[in-house]
Every structure is written in C-alpha cells, then in structure tokens.
Subunit: 507 residues, 2 copies
C-alpha cells in the first residue's frame, strides 16, 4: 500500500513491475489462444481452457487488488510529476480496473463461464440451425450485460455503456445519425447497382479452382506488397481469418484457403494485413506500456478496410495485382485482365451473410444487428423474437429472404462471446477509412502509389497520423487529429456513390 511518503520514483518502479507482469500474462494468453486456433491438437481444448482460466484469475486478482488500485490512484494524483505517456498509461489502466472492480468477482467468474459454454452451444445451434438451443444462453448473456452495464455506469443508458466499451465516446445518438445518413444514401444507390447487376454476369474466374499451394505463394506476395515486416509478422491458417498483435515485434495474421474461391483468401490477407500494419506501426516510445496496441475496434477496422476496400478494390490495385496473379496462376488466370478483376471484386449484391457481404451492402448488415441488440438491451425486444425480427429487417434493408436461422440470427459468434455493442465498430471503421482517404489525397497520390506497386507513401501517411499513436488518444480524438475535423459520415457515402456510380455508368 503506497504511503503518502513513498517517492514517486518508487511508485513508478512498482507500476513498471505491474505492467510487465500484466503484459506477460496477456502475451501468454494470446499465444495460447493463437496456438489453439491454428495448430493445437483438436483434443486439447479442455486443457487450454484450464490454463486460460488460471491466467485470467491471476490477472483479475492482480488488477483488482487494493494494492494496485491504490498505487494507480496515488500515481494519478501526482499527475504533474508524470510524463504524458505514463500519465495516460496509469489513467487508462485505472479506468479499466475501476470498471472491472464494479462487477462483483463471483458474477464476473460466472459470466466468463457462461460465455465459454455459450460459445460451444452457439456452434452447435448454428450447425443445426436451432435457435431454441441457444436462446437460454443468449438471454442470460443479455441479462448479464444489462446488469454489468448498470454496475459500471448507473446513470447511463445501458446500451450507451455497451457502445462506449468498444468505442470510447460512442452513443446511440451518434449511431442513429450515422446509420440514418447511410440508409438515406446507400438504399437508392443499391437500386442503381441492382439494375447494373441484372445486365452483367459474374466473371468466370471467380469460381475457378486455384490450387491452395499457389494461393499460399500469393499470400506471401500480398504481404510483401503491403510491406508487412516478415521478421515480425507471420501468416497462419484458421477457419475464420483474424489478427493477433502481441506487440510491434510479434504480430500474426491468418487466412483460410478455399480452392474454388481465390478472392476469399486474397482479400482476407489484405484485410488482416491492414490490422497488422497498424499493430506493427505503433511508436517505439510505447514499448513496454499498456498503450502499445490499437486504440479501438473501429480504428482497427478503419485500417483493415482501408487496405481491403479502398486500396484492394481499386482500379489501380487491379492493374498491379493481375500480372502477379497471371504469373502465379498462368493457366487459371490466363483470361483475367485488370478491368474484369476490378469489376469482379467490386461486384455488389444483397446477400445473407455479413462476412461475405460486399463493400456497399456491408453496413446494412451491421444496421440490422445494431437495431436488434439495442432493442433487447433497452427492453423493447425479447431474445425470443430476434429470429423473426432479424428476418423482417433483412427483408426491409436488403430485400433478401432468410431461409433459416443458421443463415440469419445465428450466423455471427459475437453475441455468444458477450460482444454486445461491438458491431457498430465495423461500420464506423469503413466510414473512418473513407474520411482518412479524403484527407490523405490532399498530399498523397494514392492511385499513383498503388499503381506503381510501392505503397510506402500510403503506409507512411497512416503511420504518421494513426498507427504510431497507439492508445495515446481516444478514438474520436485520434480521428479528429488525423483528419482535422470531427467524424463526418458523408465522406463514406460520397466515396461509395463515386465508386459505384462510376461502375454502373461505365457498364
């Protein structure tokens, strides 16, 4: 317990030791999970569950112990003696711990057990398309989230607290304005695109067989084009692609190879590559601190979607990558030219599954989830009504008919893991990226950089304005520093209108 007479340097040394211990547990946990997702034997899940439970228990105790809270409070009270990075680090850790401490330990442990079990039940339910199986777990998850969010912020609407958990400062008010703007502009755009689609056919190469071993070579080439530092970034294979960033010295992306869908692994590598660039680009001044990671999901998605959609689905990139494709796949890609590739990767049409959705309709999938989870959190919807409401909204926004819950309300894992308030980050990320692009274009000739095959100017702009800052600024502040203006959803709708307008016009 830090007495008032303890010197600040002594307190800082204790803080440093705490930070190092927490970082070690977090790294070990991350590697165990990565190992579990990639190579570990199928039958090792129970063992890994036990180990992760012990590590998370130790971490919880270390964080919520009175020694830790008092140390952090004392340090924060001496803010004038701390450098800005240390002050931010102390404040962020204290904020996290104070929120965590408001949840009774036994309820926290029970909730972790619940979401752990719920994950297995959800997989089962999705496989059988049986929502009733999952429903009791989902009810408990929503109930617990409502209760926890009341503990954390008794005077705030619970769904606002949920949003704030994933995107500091985000509220239902801001989300409503954002989604209204999207709806207003995207829905009419979709009608034009539908007419265009009716008159065009999918490019034949998109469903051709591309041998997996050659797709692996292509992944390596894509990582090189993105300028991912291979000494600090590896690629693995998993059912669902993801990125794990432990520190800027150890980042892993994964992909999934489907022989008859070369675009799937290709764009997942570019997407995860964007996440990885962010993690790899964090300033070295944050090494060893708790600030050495991406600040939020939406800023992370802004980077991954920037590379996937703004760079990867551009005419300039098509011109760059098609010769590479034809080199690696001389037979399979013999008839692919840049324009047909570009049209193939920009093809937009209403669909059932979020993770397969195109750039144009993606946000509508998010809107459905936003409205449903918000309704349950606010007590307006019952969990039992979610399948019906899901299908209605998918019909309303996307014009599709959901055949079963596996292709509907059961498709995503997020809710089963307790991730309520998380989905809006995806849509925000896309919009942030478009706003960054507008500003970037003032000083960087993005198309010329991509066409030349040297992404350095693009990377350096993002490094300077986004990556290097780690968790130093809240996401809204970071975006404003980066763009010189607050968040403006119209950048995104303008971007989509220009891109898809052009595609339809030049039919």
């Amino acid at each position: 317990m830090p007495a008032i007479t303890t010197s600040t340097s002594e307190l800082l040394s204790r803080f440093d030791s705490l930070r190092r211990t927490l970082a070690a547990y977090s790294h070990a946990t991350g590697v165990l999970q990565y190992d579990g997702d990639t190579v570990a034997p199928r039958g090792s899940a129970a063992l890994r569950g036990q180990t992760l439970a012990v590590l998370s228990g130790v971490t919880y105790e270390l964080q919520t112990g009175s020694d830790t809270t008092e140390l952090l409070r004392e340090l924060r009270s001496r803010s004038d003696e701390l450098d800005p990075i240390t002050l931010r680090d102390v404040s962020e850790m204290l904020r996290r711990i104070e929120r965590l401490s408001r949840i009774p330990a036994d309820e926290y442990v029970a909730y972790n057990r619940l979401v752990n079990e719920a994950g297995a039940v959800w997989r089962d339910a999705k496989e059988r398309s049986d929502f009733a199986l999952f429903r009791p777990y989902l009810e408990k998850i929503f109930e617990t989230n409502i209760r926890f969010n009341r503990y954390i912020a008794p005077d705030t609407p619970v769904y606002d607290t949920a949003l704030d958990e994933y995107e500091r400062g985000l509220t239902t008010e801001k989300c409503d304005a954002f989604f209204a703007a999207l709806r207003e502009r995207i829905v009419p755009l979709m009608s034009r695109v539908s007419a265009y689609l009716a008159a065009s056919k999918p490019e034949p190469f998109t469903s051709r067989r591309f041998p997996v071993w050659k797709q692996r070579l292509l992944s390596g080439r894509l990582m090189d084009i993105l300028r991912l530092d291979r000494d600090h970034c590896i690629i693995g294979e998993t059912e669902h692609p993801f990125t794990s960033g432990f520190t800027r010295s150890d980042v892993r992306i994964t992909t999934h190879y489907h022989e008859n869908s070369v675009l799937s692994s290709m764009f997942s590598v570019i997407h995860e590559g964007g996440h990885a660039l962010y993690e790899l680009g964090i300033g070295e001044e944050y090494d060893g601190t708790g600030l050495a990671g991406g600040i939020s999901m939406s800023i992370h998605e802004s980077q991954s979607r920037f590379y996937e959609n703004i760079i990867g689905r551009s005419r300039a990139f098509a011109g760059l990558i098609v010769p590479v494709l034809r080199e690696i796949f001389p037979e399979e890609a013999a008839d692919v030219d840049a324009e047909s590739f570009y049209r193939a990767v920009c093809r937009a049409e209403p669909s059932l599954i979020r993770i397969e959705a195109d750039e144009l309709t993606y946000c509508l999938h998010i809107m459905v989830r936003y409205e449903l989870e918000r309704g349950v959190m606010e007590g307006r919807f019952e969990v039992g009504d979610l399948p019906r409401l899901w299908n209605e909204k998918m019909g309303e926004y996307l014009g599709v008919t959901v055949p079963d819950d596996a292709h509907g309300v059961l498709q995503d894992s997020h809710w089963s893991g307790g991730g309520i308030g998380y989905f809006p980050s995806y849509a925000l990320g896309s919009a942030y990226g478009a706003q960054m692009l507008e500003v970037m274009r003032k000083t960087v000739d993005v198309d010329a950089a991509v066409a030349s095959g040297d992404l350095l100017p693009v990377n350096e702009w993002l490094r300077e304005h986004v990556w290097r800052h780690g968790c130093m600024y809240d996401p809204g502040d970071l975006l404003e520093r980066c763009c010189g203006a607050p968040f403006d959803p119209s950048c995104f709708t303008r971007y989509l209108e220009r891109k898809y307008g052009d595609l339809c016009t030049n039919l």
Copy 2:
C-alpha cells in the same frame, strides 16, 4: 501457513489449487516455447524472453515460498491419510522444491540469465567454429553447476548429483560399469562391420531427391502406423526435431524435411513418435497431478529409440514400409525393395556427429561426452582443454579425425543450456529398450505384429508396463517392475551383436 489443526482435506484442497496453478504456468511456458520454435516471427525472441522470465519468476516464488514448503511438509507428515498417488505427488514436489530452495534466489536468477545468453553465444561459436568465443560461458556454466550441486548435496560427489538430476539413482559407478560393458563388446563388433562396409555400397535411393510435400504425407502415414492419436498429437516443423508433451491431451512432435534425405525426417518422426506415445499413454488417474509425464530422460529415450531402432530398423518394418514408400514416391522409390531398405537404414559407420550417428556407434559418442563432462566436474580437466580432449577421444573410440570444433566439441547445445549429466541418459535409453524387448518377446510376437502393420500388441505391452505409470516410480524401479530384473546392459550388447552379426553374415 497450515496450522497443525487444519484438516487434511483443507490442506489437500490447497495442494490441488497449487498444482493447478503450477500446471497452468508450465503449460503456458511450454506453448510459448513450442510456438517460438515452430511458427513465431523471427523478431519475437526478446518479447518471448521477457514473458518467459516473468512466468518463471512467478513459478519460482510460488514453489519456494514458505507457505508452499510448509503445506507440502505438513501433508507428507500425514502420509497415512493420503492415497499413494497424492503421497507420491506431494513427495516429488517437495523433493524438487527442497533442491531448488538450497540454491540462493539471486544465484538461480543469474544462472538462468547466463544459460540464456550462452545459448546465443554457442550458436554463434558453432557457426564460426570458434570455441574461444564460447569458452568463458562454458567455464561459468561448469563452475555454477559444481557450486549448485554442492548446495543440493554437500556430501555427494558433484557429478553424481548431476547424473541423479536427470536419472534418479544414477551414479558414476553405474555409468562406468555400463560404458565398460559397451566398449568391450561394441568395439570388436565395429571391426567386423567395417570389413562388411568396405565390401558394400550405400543404397542409391538414400541420397535421391524426395519432394518435401510428399515427405509430409509419409509423416502422416508413419503417425498412423504408430497409432498416434491425431486428436491429441500434432506434427510441426523445426530445425531440430523434438517432442513437447503438455498432458496426454496435448502432445506435439516436430521434424525437419531435407529433400535429399528422406530417411532423416522418416526416422525422426518414428523417434519423436515414440516419445509421444509415452506421453499420450500415461494413465488417466494421473490427470491433473504433477505425475502426468514421463519419469526420466532415459525412460523417454528407451521408448523413442525402441520405435526408431528396434521397430523402425527391423526387417519386418522394412517389409511393411517399402510398399508405402513406393505408393507415395512411385518414381523416387521405384527400385527400393525391403532388403535394400533394411540394409540402408542399418548401415553403421564411425562418424563425427552424434545426432547423425547410427544405432551401433551412437553410444560411443555419448561415452566421449560422459568422460569429458565428468572430468571437468571432478576438476581433472580444464574447459580450455575440452576441444583437444574431444578430438583425442573421438579418434580413440571411433577412429575419426575431427576437422574443426563445429564438428567436434561445439556440435551439441546441451552444455550451453546447462545440461550437464544429461548425455548418459541417451545411451541408457537404448539399453533399457533392448532389455524391454527381451521381456516383451516372451509374450508378444514383435516381428509378426510389425509385419502385419498392426503395432497394437507392442503398444499395449509398453502402455501396460511403462507408459501408464507416469512418474509414479523412479526410473530404476520402473525398469525393474517392467522387466522383472534390474538393469542389465548385456541385453543391449546381445541385441546389437545379433543384429549386426546377421547383417555382416548375410552379406
């Protein structure tokens, strides 16, 4: 601190919690190391080093804290209230901790740092074949081992304590007798084999190119032939093959593929497969205890070498595997028949490098290391004289001329990691395996099982007599229970004489 009045069940519950925490740290450490050896980015070593240091510090404190020692002592004093497994588990943990506690914490930390640094220096020194670079580190490592072994057992010769560390109950006296028996029988056998070799040529297929992707298929087939449970055992790729067994639910083996040496990966898979079978076969009654692993290096090597040499380098196995080889490699193995395969994999000739040595000469490589490390530990040799002494003994026992230290005293990593007293386990393992074979043959037709492709009877015998016992018995006791007699080196020399006598006769 357990008061005398605390109930035994309360103490056992504390013990169980301690055990689970230690198991979690050990599992996390193991996965971090496996990840580092297989897939982690090259540039992540420093981060991993920090994480491992924190975990090992926490483990050390947890083990050597007075709470733990008192708990274990109190439990051992109530031995009549404990079941045999718990008693053994408590006693083994207490023994390990008491040994560890005799080493001052600061010296222990400094030594861990030393061997960590020494590993990098050794790699560098080996690459440049520069013993002088490594010498100061090796001197400190030997000095520290001498000092630590004096702390642990002040009244025992230090090298005996070192041997006991890796093989409970092993002494220089036993080693001397064992190696004398080997020398007496192997050296004359080698002369006969040399004459035979002079009259024969290597099989041409052994240095032919076998595509790596097909070798990977072969590894899978070998794992199936060994009946390795693929739900709990995976295969990875590393520079040097090894096995990591976390529990019977999670075991990993690795191999290395060389295009022009198909036998290298093949026999490393069989060797590591033997280690893995042992770990996978531990009785479920030891789940969650500290006894759920192999008891010692030599028992482990007895299993790996049993599969590699006794099974894998037998005529029956050649008959079984050659059709598989010809199926996977229809061109590369077109001219391979069972007898030529058998002769190729049994080819024995004096060589420079231990890990490439054949079954017959392998133990002579160990003898050299045994005599040298013992001499330094006993103060009879200087570290600075090791290169010269190494080269002399290699000439004496194997008749080879060592061209440089990279192919001599610097070839193995063991000493750089502090593994002094470890080498004899390898030779003992081979001999244990031969003794097990003699007993097994009384009830199992080993050759018929191998020839039929169904190793079940062999596996079941070893499971019953070796694997399932985990760490319940000391290695010498386990061998005696298994074989109905104490260790008898003559089984091994008889085995070699029969095998190589036959090979030479049937030229």
